[in-house]
């Protein structure tokens, strides 16, 4: 596969590490979290493979263009509308999650609306960029941040304060039945390729989804899942982890770089995860804007040769985010994120169905 495919996938994977995924898994630590993780890996990979396989048959074409050709118009618009809303929600949840992080760990005095607006100021510019250029941004962010994040993960596991006993204790709960919430949250990390529905437009070369690429994604995904689940447990304790609101960040705050310029790992983690989350928001909202453009497009809304429709969408996104961030509490955020993860498999199934129809009609 093109290397940009991996960036799309891994950015989503790593962004989930600081979103609510670990929290949802840890809430089920006495339920079936471990089995859920074990189930989610093959499940996530199979769906990831199917998505990759589908798009490799249509190089240079996004889902909206394919639907133009093979799917009835009414259904197309409805489906794209749903996709757009879901992708917008994905970005929205990331924005809010991270704004909460910033407020809690970096600048407690700042206003949440201010933080969200500052982030969205840059997202606004980014989401309107050309699709190809977004891939270049993803690349540079990934290349800069991924080594640091790998270092942080390895630091958590090689730490003197990392207690294997807590991990052993958590493994004791392996016999429990899996939990739907946990499976969805864990499997979501493999579903970055779903973004191809727009980004496939610029991957014009013939791609090939091989076992090698699936293995790479599987490996990275497994590391991230294990780190997201066992890292906090090992550092903070199996019992007390339940009382922590942001397990990922709190775990980072338990560590120090003894010889580093910056002593507390938290700040490094916060900055590097910010870049990754930013990239994730950027992809999601770019997809959302592009999809909405296919649903609604005001041809007359023009100003100096620029059509303002995408700006309109982004302003709506912005206002919604500012409204939602003042309304949500941290507990509700986790709950709604969990709902989002739970809904996503249904959307993906519908999408796979559409893929199947398109492939059949394309062959005929």
């Amino acid at each position: 596969m093109s290397r940009y495919f991996y960036y799309l996938t891994f950015i989503n994977t790593i962004a989930s590490l600081v979103a609510s995924m670990p929290k949802i898994l840890l809430m089920n630590r006495e339920g079936g979290a471990i089995v859920s993780i074990l189930i989610s890996i093959p499940l996530g990979l199979v769906v990831c493979y199917l998505i990759g396989r589908f798009y490799q048959a249509f190089p240079g074409k996004g889902l909206p263009e394919l639907m133009d050709d093979y799917i009835p118009k009414f259904f197309k618009i409805l489906f794209l509308l749903v996709i757009g809303i879901v992708w917008f929600a994905a970005g929205l949840l990331s924005v809010i999650t991270y704004s909460f992080f910033i407020k809690r760990f970096l600048s407690p005095n700042a206003n949440l609306i201010y933080i969200v607006s500052l982030i969205l100021l840059f997202i606004y510019y980014g989401a309107l960029m050309k699709t190809k250029n977004i891939l270049y941004v993803l690349e540079i962010i990934f290349v800069l941040a991924a080594p640091m994040i790998l270092l942080l993960i390895s630091k958590a596991f090689t730490n003197n304060y990392f207690e294997m006993d807590f991990v052993r204790e958590s493994i004791m709960h392996i016999q429990n039945y899996p939990n739907y919430n946990a499976v969805c949250a864990a499997a979501f990390i493999f579903w970055g390729p779903a973004n191809l529905l727009i980004f496939n437009r610029v991957l014009k070369k013939k791609q090939s989804m091989t076992w090698k690429s699936i293995c790479t994604i599987g490996l990275v995904g497994t590391i991230v899942l294990l780190a997201g689940y066992f890292g906090p447990i090992g550092m903070l304790g199996f019992e007390s982890i339940g009382m922590v609101v942001n397990p990922g960040m709190t775990t980072a705050d338990t560590m120090v770089f003894r010889y580093g310029i910056i002593e507390r790992v938290l700040f490094v983690a916060l900055m590097f995860f910010l870049t990754i989350t930013f990239a994730s928001i950027l992809t999601h909202w770019h997809v959302a804007v592009e999809v909405f453009k296919k649903v609604v497009y005001f041809k007359k809304l023009r100003w100096r040769k620029h059509n303002l429709t995408p700006h309109l969408f982004l302003i709506v996104f912005w206002i919604t985010s500012v409204k939602v961030v003042t309304y949500l509490t941290e507990y509700q955020l986790v709950k709604y994120t969990s709902y989002f993860y739970n809904i996503f498999p249904f959307l993906l199934s519908a999408m796979l169905l559409v893929f199947w129809v398109i492939r059949r009609r394309a062959k005929a």
């Binding site: 290397r3 970096l106 933080i115 500052l118 840059f122 980014g126 250029n133 270049y136 002593e263």
Partner: protein
């Protein structure tokens, strides 16, 4: 050739002729009187022999019209010369501008042979076989070439144009802007022909193409477009040529840097999308890599396009040195870039928002050294930065004799005095000087200047948003650069794979 062998033999009469000619030339009014007679003769000939044609001119233009146009245009210039050569049955008229013509060449190639060759016919065929002869395309072109140093010769009722220009700007200069320890020491000259010669002498390949165009609606400068036709990216070449046709009629384009600005698609831009260089090795390296080089006459700097961000961070020496040394130097440069961009902003974000980010000892010493500083940190930083910018700007503009004084005085301000007056903290001094040094690590000047400005953006966002603002602005900068393109080539794309794979990936 007859002239060479018989020059001694005829020396005496040449001498007398010279005498005659110089007296003739001194008297300004005389030639024009003679000219009238001459013109009459032409018109007579014209009546006799029908219309006279200029060599290879498509539209018919009677010679006397051209001549009267030339005299009319140049009449008022003191250095315009119309000179009649006449001996026995032989007659020829020379029209040229004295100050741009090479006198030795004029004497050697034009005047001497006239008196040595037996007939007008011989002389004419001698002239037409000279390599300096230029093709005549029209009246305007004749006038234009005359201003560059060509001479018009009227013989046997036809008009010949020969290039005998004199150039004073062809001395090759020392490398000034991009010095290296190893590598060529000589840069370009200010003469386009010399520069093309320099490039050709270092790149011996028949596929090297040099196209000459004229640019500037008033100045009519020559512009050379140089590329290797085998390796050049055709889409890019076409884009560059299109842009040149667009800017062609700008009245004055004096420097390559000005042309660079005009070639930019956007009116307002900050980062350069083409590179200026004076180093021949860089030019050759880029031609071999498939880029297009533009040379403007009268400029010791060439323009290389397209150029991406990472080109501006590479020095030519990177190719000459051992691998690990290059890696070290490159990382040093990127470190300098990061320091220069973020250090002042980081100071503001850390002292005003999150003093706990660094070790608490550092937090204490920073706040300790800020005791007595009356302003918030961002004003302190701005104050120091602006003083430093003034210092840099002053040392560029000042004559070299005074520049030393300016920097000494400035150094005093930037040194201990500002701290003792409690205007800034001591750490601030270290930060400003570290930043100033690292600005100059960036090898290409324009990029250094652009970074110098972008730094204030980082500072602004660090002031309003702390560390969050700083990181977001850096991400914004990445996005801005990734969104740019240089003549169709992505500006900020990482090159992780082999070069061929990258190029292929881009085309598909």
């Amino acid at each position: 050739m007859a002239s060479g062998s018989s020059s001694c033999h005829h020396s005496s009469w040449i001498h007398t002729f010279w005498h005659e000619m110089t007296s003739f030339g001194n008297d300004k009014h005389k030639p024009s009187l003679d000219w009238k007679v001459e013109r009459k003769r032409y018109s007579l000939r014209q009546e006799e022999g029908g219309v006279l044609y200029m060599r290879r001119v498509k539209e018919v233009e009677p010679i006397h019209e051209v001549i009267s146009l030339i005299t009319e245009k140049f009449q008022t210039s003191f250095d315009f010369i119309e000179k009649k050569l006449h001996i026995d049955e032989k007659t020829a008229v020379l029209l040229y501008i004295k100050t741009v013509v090479n006198g030795a060449d004029l004497q050697e190639f034009i005047i001497k042979p006239f008196f040595e060759l037996p007939t007008e016919h011989h002389y004419k065929s001698y002239l037409t076989s000279l390599p300096q002869q230029q093709e005549i395309k029209g009246k305007e072109q004749i006038l234009d070439e005359m201003t560059r140093g060509s001479i018009v010769i009227i013989i046997q009722g036809s008009l010949l144009l020969l290039d005998i220009k004199k150039v004073h700007t062809d001395s090759v200069q020392q490398v000034n802007l991009e010095p290296t320890i190893q590598g060529p020491e000589l840069a370009l000259s200010e003469d386009i022909a010399t520069n093309i010669n320099l490039i050709r002498q270092r790149y011996h390949k028949p596929s090297l193409v040099v196209e000459i165009q004229e640019i500037g609606g008033k100045s009519n400068q020559s512009l050379a477009i140089i590329y290797d036709s085998q390796s050049v990216n055709d889409a890019v070449l076409e884009k560059i040529k299109n842009k040149i046709t667009i800017i062609k009629h700008t009245p004055l384009i004096q420097t390559t840097a000005e042309m660079q600005r005009l070639l930019n698609e956007k009116k307002r831009s900050l980062l350069p999308i083409s590179m200026l260089t004076e180093r021949t090795d860089r030019i050759i390296y880029n031609i071999a890599g498939g880029k297009v080089v533009l040379l403007l006459d009268g400029n010791p700097v060439s323009l290389i396009a397209p150029a991406v961000f990472f080109d501006f961070m590479s020095a030519t020496e990177d190719n000459y040195r051992p691998f690990y040394l290059t890696i070290f130097n490159k990382s040093l440069r990127y470190l300098g870039l990061i320091i220069c961009l973020t250090l002042p902003a980081l100071y503001v974000a850390i002292t005003s928002y999150n003093p706990e980010v660094f070790r608490f000892e550092l937090a204490l010493s920073v706040s300790g050294s800020r005791i007595g500083v009356p302003y918030p940190s961002f004003i302190e930083v701005l104050f120091m930065l602006i003083v430093m910018e003034l210092l840099i700007e002053a040392s560029i503009r000042l004559p070299k004799v005074i520049a030393g004084t300016a920097t000494t005085v400035g150094g005093l301000i930037l040194g201990t005095a500002a701290t003792e007056a409690a205007l800034t903290s001591t750490i601030m001094i270290i930060i400003v000087s570290a930043m100033a040094i690292s600005t100059f690590v960036i090898p290409i000047n324009e990029m250094g200047f652009a970074i110098r400005i972008i730094k204030y953006g980082v500072l602004l966002f660090a002031t309003i948003g702390g560390l969050l603002g700083l990181v977001l602005f850096m991400l914004g900068l990445f996005m801005y650069m990734a969104n740019m393109d240089s003549f169709g080539e992505p500006y900020f794309k990482l090159f992780l794979q082999r070069k061929t794979a990258e190029i292929e990936g881009d085309k598909t």
